[in-house]
Every structure is written in C-alpha cells, then in structure tokens.
Point group: C3
Chain length 350, copies 3
C-alpha cells in the first residue's frame, strides 16, 4: 500500500478545529499510538489509550478537541470533534488507491446469459456467472467469481466481492456491499415431519436487501418460505452471521459476527446484537435493543432494552447474578453453617 500525504494534505482532508505543533514529515503510513513511528499518522479513538499519546512516535496525531497536552518536536496534533471520523476520511482516500474504480465492461471469462441486463457502466469481473433475467445496474461491480441468479436485481453502485452469491429472484438495494463468500438467498430450513422423514418445504420466497446494507464474509441470508426475508436500509451484518427465512430486520441495525437469527423473527430499527448472539424464531425485538455477546434471546424484547445472558435478561440484573454465582460456593457454606447452628441451638434448648 503506497500512502503519501503532506501535513497540509492531511489537514485539508480532515478540516481540524485546531492544530498544535508542526511536522516536516511526509505521512507514509497509519499505525496505532504505541506502534507509530516517524512518518506515520496515528489517532486517539478510544479514551482507553489516552496515556499512549505522550509517548507515540507518530508525526501526526488526530486528537479530540478537549485533549490536554503538547506535541513533541517535529510532531503535529490535529484536534477534531471525532478523531475516528477524521481517520475514516484519511482511510477513504487510501481506499481509492487500494481499490480503484474498476473499468466498466464484462470480462471475457464471465458467463453472462444473453437474457441478463447489464448496464453500460457496470463491471462484471472474471469468472462471474449472471443468469437470465438478472439485472445488473449502473456502476455495479461484480468483482470475480460472483454468482447472480435468474431474475435477481443488483442495484446501482453495489459491490459484490469474490465468491459472493445472490440467488434466484433476490434483490439488492443501492450501494449494497457483499463481502467475499456472502450468500443471499439460500433455502430456508423448513421441513415437515411425515412418516418418519423430514419432507422439504420448498422455499419459494426471496431476500430483499435495502440500500446501503453490508453483508459480511461467508454470512448466509435465507430466502423466505414464501414472501420475503428483509434487511432494512443501512443495516450492517458482520461475518458468519445466519439470517433465517422470513426474518425481517429493520433499518440501521448492527449484527456482529456469528449472530444467528431463527426464522420469522423481527428486529425493529437500530437493534445491536453482539457477537455469537442467538435469537429464537417467531419473536420480536423492539427498536434500539442492545444484546451482549453470546446472549440467547428466546422471548419478545421491548424497545430500548439492554439485555445479556442465556436466557437473555436485563443487563444489570444479569451482571449482578453473574457476580452472585461466583459466590455460590460461599453461599452453600453459609447455609451449611446456618443449619449446623440451628441444630446445635435445638439440641441445647431441648
């Protein structure tokens, strides 16, 4: 990765509220505070690392406006409302260098059905498959080895990374990103138990992703039994997440890695589920609910809840119980002692 920014260029990109110090160095890389050396830019994004600012070797440090402290010689502090957002702007410039806009067109090795519609400005990379009736919209980018099934719709500016799959009839909103290996539209897991065998219930619904949805690497989103599995606008899904059939996810949710959501469950807007959370089927999770990692959610959750544990209960209660559980050995001893004392008391009184 080739990076090269002068201090003036960095300032122009992030538009700081204030600056302290000066550096003559050209920025050639980014690094964490503790690891950064001359020629690198760092930032304070998490107050936990505040103590590392004074010792950092970074030539430029992005800091919150209320940071107290002076730069070293040949070091520049740039003060900004949100150093993480400022860093993101730097990273966006680097991103353009890492993944330049691809050339429009269809790679000769791709297998695009003549019955598919591919926009002029779209890019179909090497060894992709696009089946008949599929629509690939303007500036959409199928990077490589991507599969888009019959009648699927890929909207403007989507980016489908290597090995991702959009199965028959499913549709993606604008600017959707599928990370490598993400699968949209596998069959839901539905069987009827008949004469000792699990007979498959055909899964003939679809998956619909709203604008600006992102799906992580190797995550799987199942098509509805019939009707639609839905992910709302702006929702971000991490790697290895499972979304069952007929699930409806609201807007601007965050699902951290390895979350599993069973069929026909609804998440309202702004729900945040920590890593490895499991959610049962046919339940409803209210707006803005947050669940801690590994929680197991088995019943409806009212809006604004903060829950934890299996089965999930209010966070503070769960934390309190977790502490008390570690005192169980002591509690058993106390009850033993109480019983002993009572026995003695009875004996002495009899």
């Amino acid at each position: 990765m080739q990076v090269s920014f002068t201090a003036a260029e960095v300032a122009a990109i992030i538009q700081p509220k204030a600056a302290r110090g000066f550096t003559s160095e050209t920025i050639r890389g980014l690094a964490a505070l503790a690891e950064a050396t001359s020629g690198e830019l760092s930032f304070l994004g998490n107050a936990k690392y505040k103590g590392e600012v004074a010792g950092t070797g970074a030539s430029i440090v992005l800091l919150p406006v209320d940071y107290v402290g002076e730069p070293k010689s040949n070091q520049l502090f740039l003060l900004t409302e949100n150093p993480s957002v400022a860093l993101a702007r730097i990273c966006a410039r680097i991103e353009l260098a890492l993944w330049p806009r691809p050339e429009p067109g269809i790679h000769p090795s791709a297998a695009v059905d003549p019955g598919a519609q591919v926009a002029r400005s779209a890019t179909i990379g090497p060894l992709c498959v696009v089946e008949s009736g599929a629509i690939i919209s303007e500036r959409a980018h199928l990077q490589a080895q991507v599969f888009v099934g019959r009648n699927a719709v890929i909207s403007e500016d989507c980016w489908l990374m290597p090995g991702s799959v959009v199965a028959t009839e499913c549709s993606l909103g604008k600017r959707v990103r599928l990370q490598p290996g993400a699968i949209v539209g596998a069959d839901g897991f539905g069987y009827e138990f008949v004469h000792g065998r699990h007979e498959k219930i055909p899964q003939v619904g679809i998956v619909v992703l709203g604008d600006d949805v992102e799906v992580g690497a190797n995550s799987t989103l199942d098509r509805a039994r019939f009707s639609r599995t839905v992910v709302g606008e702006g929702t971000k899904i991490d790697n290895l997440v499972q979304i069952g059939h007929n699930v409806v996810i609201g807007r601007h949710c965050l699902l951290v890695s390895q979350v599993g959501i069973s069929g026909s469950t609804t998440l309202e807007d702004y729900v945040v589920l920590g890593g490895q959370v499991g959610v049962g089927g046919h339940i409803k999770i209210g707006k803005g609910t947050k669940a801690g990692g590994q929680a197991g959610i088995t019943t409806d959750v009212s809006a604004g809840s903060f829950i934890n544990g299996t089965p999930a209960i209010p966070y503070l209660l769960e934390r309190r119980i977790a502490v008390l559980q570690q005192r169980l050995p002591d509690l058993f001893k106390r009850v033993d002692s109480l019983e002993e004392q009572l026995r003695e008391a009875k004996m002495s009184s009899s």
Copy 2:
C-alpha cells in the same frame, strides 16, 4: 416470481378434506395471514396465529380440519390434516417455475477433466470444476462454480448449488442438496504437538452423505482422519454448521444453524440440535435426543433425552435452575437475614 392458480387448481393440488366459502379470485401470491390481501393464499401453520384468521384478507386460507369459523365474502377456506404440508405442495409447484429442470450437458466454460465420468442427463453449469475420476450421475445438477474433486461420487438427482465443494474421494447419496458454499471434505483439525509445534496429522479419510441429505449454505463437513465421516439418510443440516472429522450422524437428524460437532462423536437417528449447540468430541448422543439452542453437550446422552444449557442437563431441570438463578439476589438477602436473626437470637439468649 409469477404465480397463477385458480381456486380449483389449488384444491386439485392439496386435496382438502372439506371446504367453506367461495372465491372468484386467481391466486397470484402467498402471504402470512396478517399481510395477505385479495388474490393471495395464506395458511394457519402455527396455532399461535389462530386469531389472525378472522381478519386476513387472503382469498384462500388453508386451515386445520378442526378450525371453527366461517370465511368472509369472496373467501375460500380449505380444511386439511396439515395446512403446512398442503402449503408445501403449492410451493413445490412454484418451485418448478423458479428453478426449472436444467438442460443436460456441460457448459463450455466448465473445466471437466477427461478422466471424469459425467452421465448423459447430468448438468454441469458454468465455471464448474470436475476433477479426474469423479462420477457425476444421472440428472445430477452442478449449478455453477461448483468443485468436485478427484474420484468423488455425486449420485443421481443431486443438486449442488453455486460455490459448493465436494473434495477428493467424498461421496454423496441420491438427491443430496448442497446449498451455496457448502463444503464437504475439508481436512479434519488434527495435529500432534511435537517439539513445541503442532505437526499436521494428514487427514486421509472421506465424507459419505446418505440419500436425501441436505447441507446448508457455508456449512463445513470434515473428512475423517482415516476411514469415514458419515451423515445418515434423510438428515438435514442448516447453514454454517460444522461437522468434525470421524463424526457419525444417524438418519433423519436435524441440525439447526451454527451447530458445531467435535471429532469422533456419534449422533444416533432422529437427533435434533437447536441453533448454536456445541457438542464435544468422542461422545454419543442417543436416538431422538433433542437439545435446545446454545446448549453445550459434553457427555454421553441417553436416547430420548431433552436437554438444555451449558453443560447440558435435562430441559425441565435447566429451566427450573434458570428461574432460580434470577432469584439469587433475593436468596442472598434471605441468607443475610437468617444470619442476622441467628446472631440476634444468640445474643438475646446469652
């Protein structure tokens, strides 16, 4: 998805026990009771939604034979033993339209080794790889970008969806379905610790799937260290499930999403594991065992058990303990109080 059924056609497909009412509408879609409108078909598959039947706008509703209630004007109730099975029959018709039988033959973009055997009626879709010695049987369908390794056997009527992998020497029974990204025959996780390093134990066994097995999207089934990892006839595996090396799974089991089964463990027939269940290595789970979501199974389980929790214990006991745990704060207070009372009693008696 284009759907079009007259009421008479629906009745012909599902063969109802009885009917109430009449509709002149043509069915153009399926929807849940609460969402269905005129021209749509709905069903009561879960008693939980019984109250929604009276208000549904569906033109046809599939109901259990004991359902009490009358249809509205221009609405048809079809009464059947199992509305879910009836619906499945409708869906099977729609499925044929969504995924019509593919044309036999080998797509010119596929890389099929001359030493592979491909049946006349099989379909090898675009950009598939079939290595030497592999056998692709009659009517088997490798949809797109599928990999079938050396000497692997794909039996009659299998359907391998985009990006699925069947590695060297592994074999699939008849009518097996691999959802997108499913991997059969990755190496088992086996190492010996020698001189401070984990030396790989070559994994030279295979995976054998019985007839009518289904493997979900991005699930992974490891080849045996030697001998065979086995999945019995009719067993259905959901997405993102991990099956370790030398695991033997019986017939007609259900493994819900994100289950993980460690090496050399045996599941007898008809075992059902909920989502995210983890099973330790070298243990045996008896016939018909059911485990709740996120359970952690670390010891042998006798046939017919219903277990839950980590470590997994009988379901009812686990539920009772979960309730008592939430009363721990109160219990600690009660013991505090008992101790206090006893202190007072002693003082007053001394």
Copy 3:
C-alpha cells in the same frame, strides 16, 4: 483410496521401538480398533479405547511402548513412543497418493493478470483469478476457483484449496494452507454512527499470516482498519472461525471451530481456544491460556490460565459453580426450611 503396505513397509515408515507377533497380510486400509478387520491397520491413540485392543481384527496395531498384551495369530503389534505420530507418518504416505504433487503451470481457464508474478514451479488450477501485482511463489498451489487479489503475496509451498480468497495486499507465509472457502482479508466491521446512520470506516489495512499457518474451511480473517491483522507462525485455525480486524495472534495457537475473536484483541503464543469460544475486543490473552468450549472471554487473561464459562473464570471454580447450580433447587428448599424453623423457634420462645 488405494492403500497397499506390507508389514515390512509399515515398519520402515514408523520405525517402531519394538514389535510383537507377525502378520502375512498386506495393509489395504486404516480403521478404528473396534471396526478394523483383516488387512487393516489400527492404533491406540487415546487411552480411553485401551480395552478395544484385545478384540480388534486389525492385522497391524500401533501401540504405546508400555502396552501390556500379546497379539493374536497373524497379527502384528508395533510399539512406538507415540502411536498417533506413527499413524500420522502412514497417513502422510497415503496423502501423497490422494493429492499427488500437481503439475506446475497455469490452467488455460484461469484468469491471471499479466501484471501478476507467477513462479515457474507454481500451479494455478482451473478457474482461478490472480490480479495484477500479486506474487505466487515457487511450488505454491492454487487448486481451483481461488481468488488472489491485487499485490497479494503467496509464499513458497502454500496450498490454497477450492474457493479460498486472499484479498488485496494480504500476505501468506510459507507452507500456509487455506482450506476450501477460507477468506483472508475481508473488510473489518467498523462504522461510525453519524446522524442516525452507520458510516463505513474504510478498512485499508491488511492481513499477514506467518509460516505454517492453516486456516479452516469458510473461516474469515478481516483486514485491519489500517496496519495489520496478524496470525503468528504455526498457528492452526479450524473451520468457521472469525478473526476481527487488528487482531494479533501469536505463534502455535489452536483455535477450534466457530471461535470468534473481536477486533484489536491480542493472543499471545500457545493459546488454545475450544469450539465456539467468543472473545471480546481490545483485550489480551496471556501465553498458553486454555479456554473451554463456548467460553465467553471479556477481560484480560493472565498467562497460563485455564478458564471456562461465560463470563470466563478459572476452570475449577467454573466446574464447581456448575455443580452447585444444579443443587440450587435443593438450596432454595433448605433456606425455606431454615426460615420456617426460625419462625417456629421465635413463636415457641415468644
């Protein structure tokens, strides 16, 4: 799988410390003690199965040097320091037959950018994609349908199995194995919440894997926000494991299937995490720590710890608490009884 070893050949491969008995059979397969028959080789790798040696039908049995017992007629016992390691040597021979060294060269169906560097002795299998600037070193093997992104580095003797992905700029040490569907270099999960929306933080760092790392099927390793996500030399990662951005994993660790590690966490050398373990972000796990399956690790862990449970605590304490939890119903009854006795005592004394 065609296997054929005489007893003399087996002895030559494993170099036993001692032998008992004799067999005239040619070994044509490997099997577990309980299942092995004439013409097969078996071994005692786990003391749990010791009782099965006397009854095995195997023609050759690999046993620990201190094994007491005599072979049957036409049966050979080979005694060795570590029967598992001895078996591994046999398996390594079989492995060569299963996966013979591929022919060097680029398959005509692969899409290799002219700006990529491919070593003479490397093998690029069918339908692989190699982007510009990528380096494929001597004897590296891209099996089939593999993706290697721009400027990525694949070192000597790597083996990338079907459908694996190494994204832009990432690098693999020598002899790294990626099992099918493994993804190195997906975007990290990083967003800033701005005006009610999750704005993506571009992830412009890379992933660096040390020598002899193995990554399991469909596992996902995220590129750093900036700088590097690192996996140290000799670390082995099982299937469906998630490694977040900026994670640093030491040398010779073992991560069992479905482990998830959140961003910016550090694992020192020789850490072992059981299946489905979840690790929070920004924490440090000391050298040689072992965690039981499904543990949830939320705070720093000191070197040499053995932990279990969620939240993870010392193993023995966790086991003790788990036992006490199952006695909670009894404890509640005992406290009920104590309260009752105290009430009675008060009444009688008043």
